[in-house]
């Protein structure tokens, strides 16, 4: 075993850190803050393209598709760097759709999409969930009917985060409604500016926007079908496996802020960090962060060694998101009444971010597969327990 980054990776990571530090201008931060996403706006597009021009968005892709031909470990580490720097880190195109295209797309599709993705020129939004299908991704209603060289799509998606800022929709739709569950779904790429698409915002309790996306006889070119028709559920599950990893560093940064606060804040004549109960709580989080780090890089190790992460990805997501919630709740406890002050309020500490993260963290154990689904997967796939 070996738990170190290679010297080459260390060097790259140092460059990434310097880049992020230098390039996150106040304008970028303001724009990102407003949109809730780093892409979608002018500053964000500029930043991402520049970032991607180093190959950092897809370091583990082959060079012909705009990658660096480097390791999944490096990819994972870069994503952590971005998360720690509060650069919102969910890149659907680079980290979820791209790998599926690479594995299952036709040569034509690869040529059309992968370079654009690797260069950070376009972004996708996930189009999986529908009102009636939460954890049950097989229960889709949206229909895509092949007519000549195009699909005609009608129906509704909901909880589609980032559809209002992305360029394309990574769309799961029913192409054979009579087929048995899991066998009538296809994946395709829809241009979100297509006529007939209507994006309606839904506000979350964390303040950021997600969307309902309505399709009314929307045309999607047939060549935008990913892989084979009616194989979508399989691709979708594979996409979950290939690059499913949950970078926790955004919350790790919150943790570091809480630790700093505990050191610097005096209560009852001594720093909060001298309180034995506070010490126990923060140490416990430190321990879980370390355990998570090992689960996280295991996924990259597996990919680099030709294995496909399976239940291991579920375990990391489960562990990371429960740790995220532990961090935010512990922060609320340690900051006490100050934790409730919102950004901009008098007496807000940590820029009012504590309560913001506390609200945000609610969804972590729900989206991208609830904790219950993850435990099911660990039991069924990891331990081969019987399903009935």
């Amino acid at each position: 075993m070996d738990f170190h980054f290679s010297n080459e990776d260390k060097k790259t990571l140092k460059e990434v850190r310097s880049f992020i530090k230098a390039e996150t201008t106040p304008e970028l931060i303001a724009e990102t803050h407003k949109l809730g996403h780093i892409y979608g706006g002018k500053e964000g597009r500029r930043f991402i393209r520049k970032f991607a021009s180093n190959g950092w968005l897809t370091p583990n892709w082959p060079e012909e598709y705009g990658g660096l031909g480097r390791s999944a470990v490096l990819n994972a580490a870069i994503r952590e760097e971005m998360a720690y720097a509060s650069v919102p880190v969910v890149f659907v195109a680079a980290h979820m759709a791209g790998p599926v295209i690479m594995h299952f797309g036709s040569d034509e599709m690869k040529k059309e999409w992968l370079l654009q993705i690797a260069r950070g020129e376009i972004e996708f939004s996930l189009g999986y969930t529908e009102p009636q299908a939460g954890s049950d991704l097989s229960a889709l209603d949206i229909r895509a009917v092949l007519k000549g060289d195009r699909f005609i799509v009608s129906g509704q998606k909901s909880f589609n985060t980032a559809s209002h800022v992305a360029d394309y929709h990574w769309l799961a739709a029913l192409t054979d409604p009579d087929a048995k569950r899991y066998h009538g779904m296809s994946l395709m790429i829809a241009d979100l500016k297509s006529p007939g698409i209507d994006i309606r915002p839904m506000t979350t309790m964390a303040g950021w926007q997600t969307n309902e996306v309505f399709y009314n006889d929307v045309e999607v070119p047939g060549k935008n079908l990913v892989g084979e028709i009616n194989h979508g559920f399989f691709y979708l599950m594979s996409a979950l496996d290939y690059e499913r990893m949950y970078p926790l560093a955004a919350y790790e940064k919150v943790f570091d802020m809480i630790v700093k606060y505990a050191k610097e804040t005096i209560t009852g004549g001594q720093p909060v960090s001298k309180n034995p109960i506070v010490r126990q709580k923060l140490a416990q989080i430190k321990i879980q962060l370390e355990a998570n780090r090992l689960l996280y890089y295991r996924l990259a190790h597996m990919v680099d060694h030709g294995q496909i992460p399976n239940y291991q990805a579920s375990m990391q997501k489960l562990f990371a998101t429960e740790t995220a919630q532990l961090i935010t709740n512990t922060g609320m406890e340690i900051l006490g009444p100050y934790s409730q002050m919102k950004e901009g309020s008098k007496h807000a500490v940590l820029s009012g971010q504590m309560e913001n993260y506390y609200r945000t963290s609610v969804v972590e154990t729900i989206y991208a597969g609830t904790s219950e689904i993850q435990r099911n997967i660990i039991a069924l796939r990891g331990l081969k327990l019987p399903s009935k």
Partner: protein, 373 residues
Amino acid sequence: MNYDFTSEQNILKESAHKLLAKECTGQHVREMAEDEQGFSLELWEQMAELGWMSLLIPEKYEGSGVNFFDLSIFLSEMGYHCLPGPFFSTVVSGGLALLEAGSDAQKGKILPDISNGRCKISLAWMEEEGRYSPEGIKLGARKKNGHFILSGKKLFVPDAHVSDIIICAARTSDDLKSITLFLAETKAKGIRIQLLDTMAGDKQCEVLFDHVEIPEENILGELDRGWPILKKVLLKSAVAKCAEMSGGAEKVMDLVIPYVKGRKQFGRPIGAFQSVQHQCANMLTYIETMKYLMYQAAWRIDKGFSFEKEASICKAWASDSYRKLVALGHQVIGGVGFMEEYDLQLYFKRAKAAEQLFGDADFHREWVARGMF
């Protein structure tokens, strides 16, 4: 032993429920969170007319007789509907402080006005250290020509911006425990109130005292003897807060249980999945334990028994349980519950605010430990 409400209490509960279901909708709660005043004066007056403000006030002061238990039934309903406004600070914390330590003159002057809804009060104890101890109180009061001059800053003062009177805990000597309570009129010269912006949209204020002159007769209780009064008021307020919390928890159940019965996934209601069932079973356990601990403490207060241990037990348990219950609710409801428009988030935010008010779980566990060791 008896775990049932009387039929009168059931009627009280139903009538409160009915009014609030009509007047205090999720929509209203959201509006008031944005509103600067933060409550509806119309509803306030309606509640006063129905006698809700009079529950802790003896008949001689135009109240309906002291009954903490019945009050807790009302508070549960207010928690159920997330009632915004200064009811708690006025009737519970303010009223209790006056009842505990007020002179006949003070009571005669203020209690009737509480009872009929004409007076709003806020209790100001916390300062920069954000602690519940006499040592945390630095705001000083110094005697001058038969008056006291108060200077300093109070934080997180609930509903001060709409209150007529602030009961202010001030340091009157260097001795660590020498705290005195003062009745300060908010319109007094030198008081400046600034609203803070909070997660739950409840109204917490910074209150600046800049050489505020307060006459000696406005001391509540005795000079330098304010801390034991304040401690008692905070403990009773903690029990009252638990009543609100257990009401909120009931509402969460009422959101969650029908949802898991109706929502289908993988071909059956999600309520048929064992993991959802077990989470719901845990929720029910949290709510029933919270409720009985709270009613027991309220009952002890009414009976005149010692209630300190029971109050701390109840607040420690409710602080943890309510938060965990809401978290379980979010977990079983999933994405829908994360939407701003769904009411669950109101309870998520208020559970945390309530958890921290009047001492959180760690704080009250330490107080329970003090009773043991």
